[in-house]
Symmetry: C2
Subunit: 111 residues, 2 copies
Amino acid sequence: MFERELLKGSLGLMLMALIEQGPMYGYLIAKEIRALTDDVIDLKEGSLYPALHRLEKEGMIEGFWQRREDGVDRRYYRITAAGQAVLDERRAQWSRFSAAVSKVVSDAPSQ
Amino acid sequence: MFERELLKGSLGLMLMALIEQGPMYGYLIAKEIRALTDDVIDLKEGSLYPALHRLEKEGMIEGFWQRREDGVDRRYYRITAAGQAVLDERRAQWSRFSAAVSKVVSDAPSQ
DNA sequence: TTCTATACCTTGTATAACAAAGTATCCTTT
DNA sequence: AAAGGATACTTTGTTATACAAGGTATAGAA
């Protein structure tokens, strides 16, 4: 699949950008991304949860359990100071990178 | 490395977009991409040549050897009809995808 | 003679998205 | 009461691909 490969490298960035806005849990993040992108990006569980664990292990985000009234547990994440710094960096990198690809890809045919 | 993962999925697209403009060979493609992107994207040989072989095997591009006066051989590639169709598709997909990521990433913090 | 540029190739490694399976609760539909 | 779907999280194994690092070979400049 092609989409799958496009996603590599930008998923962590998207997760951090959403968590930056306030504590969020995995399932909600996936819904948010689908809503924001009109289903262009439909995150699978096998990508989402490992990615969150990865970011947590790297110290970019920190998770905490929160029990709902009905007894269901949710794992919320918030961004760390280190994560915020890396996020800023990666956001800039994404801008540079996507502009670079777009330039190569949509370069007018030589005439 | 982060850049490395960002590149996944968009490399084939860039190669095809450049080859679309006229027959090109690997080494020149790498130089073109560096020049166009101000070195933001610096393609390594271990990525470039396997990617070209992949595209050729998939029938997206076709290669042919051309001997220079000094005896050096170059492998030029041109895009195929099938490749052109796939390129158009992937170009559109890249637009959708990059816009989607940018939207999630630069979404204004809730205020 | 050594270095850089040109020009291609290949093997092995690391990473990460995802399919597919599992656990568990709640609510609605049949 | 049973079945299905949504919610919510987890894990194992597979697959794809960028790249490091090695190789071959020629030409020209330092």
